[in-house]
Symmetry: C2
Subunit: 222 residues, 2 copies
């Protein structure tokens, strides 16, 4: 079920070094409960349609949609030198495109939706997994789980990437923040990085966020 | 991508009362790291093949395979009176069938694998979700997330079901244990039930577990 599967994708399973991206609409499940089912599905389809186009543009392999979540692999079945950079650029363009998604939601009177994105780079097992009646080209391994954990730390609008993705991208990634976290299933804390842009051939940046100015008061508020 | 999709499955999205089952191979990700990729994929395919057959026998709709996890819906697209009971019976037969899976693993020299299963009953949104190029019949909503949380409390060999599934099944389910848990995203603690069998037309039970006999010593061990 990959969109562009070249002939000869490994049937038996192999280890590959890939960059994995996971996204979801933060808080969307609560939103779901308050909306008619048709509206929920329409919002999701607007979102997934917009994101699919961008993911294909950056040659990501859409592994699956899981409700409002998307799992994307860069580097399998086809390995390219700039897998990690393309994943990061793709994530940035996806965040920028949320304005377009929300414009479409707004005209229909739907609530605002916000996306979180997690990216991680590392070894995984890829292969055709399933039963005779139903097989998919899938990725498995702790690096897949770790990507999901990294994504879970985001709030809407954020992109968090792992150290290995930072390293794979090189100095063109603009990092705005970092935090130490201890995801479930990991033995020691790891550092994850919030990013806001990528230079070089991609030259993509998130819109400047409003900076809240803290004004020092000479006398305390009553 | 459902195996048996009748014509006329809702395109636009609708609310449905269903029973959701999620399974995975507990601890399998760690096992993966120590095995050749081909062996990992072979184990998964033995497991998924065996389970798919059982799920179809109980008229479950396989929503997706996610690595070593299976997401199954009973009650959509086709609603039946005994959705919850069939889900529970299916889970029991799936646990019993792990002996067969492990026999096949053993002859190939693979490690032992163990399955955890979580089941929950409630309202979800179902519909055809995705992009023009890639649509799937999917289920979303907090009851889907809750099923995943319930499954996460299992260790290998266990089946945990929610209160709503117990209620939907009626008195034919054999409950062996219960625990209060507080899953992420839930506002107050819930009780989940460990089950070992179902009576009535299904009449299926897990093999008796070895009972550890605690012997009262008249004098303490040195």
């Amino acid at each position: 079920t990959i969109l562009e599967s070249p002939a000869g994708a490994a049937l038996g399973g192999e280890k590959r070094y890939v960059t994995i991206m996971m996204t979801d609409l933060r808080g969307f499940t609560s939103t779901c409960e308050q909306l008619p089912a048709e509206d929920v599905v329409t919002i999701l389809n607007i979102y997934l349609e917009t994101m699919t186009e961008i993911i294909l543009k950056y040659q990501g392999t859409i592994n699956e949609f899981i409700g409002d979540a998307i799992v994307v692999v860069f580097g399998a079945p086809i390995l390219r030198d700039d897998d990690a950079q393309r994943a990061v650029a793709c994530a940035l363009e996806m965040q920028v495109a949320m304005a377009k998604v929300n414009k479409q939601c707004q005209v229909r009177g739907y609530p605002w939706v916000e996306q979180g994105i997690g990216i991680n780079t590392g070894e995984v097992i890829v292969g055709n997994i399933g039963s005779k009646k139903r097989t998919k080209y899938d990725v498995i391994g702790h690096n897949v789980n770790l990507t999901s954990r990294i994504e879970s730390y985001t709030v809407g609008g954020q992109i968090f990437i792992s150290q290995s993705t930072v390293t794979a991208c090189g100095p063109i990634v603009r990092i705005t923040n970092q935090m130490e976290v201890m995801p479930k299933g990991i033995k020691k804390p790891i550092i994850i990085y919030e990013i806001s842009g990528i230079e070089g051939q991609f030259n993509l940046f998130l819109p400047e966020q409003e900076v809240v100015q803290w004004v020092e008061l000479s006398t305390p508020l009553p």
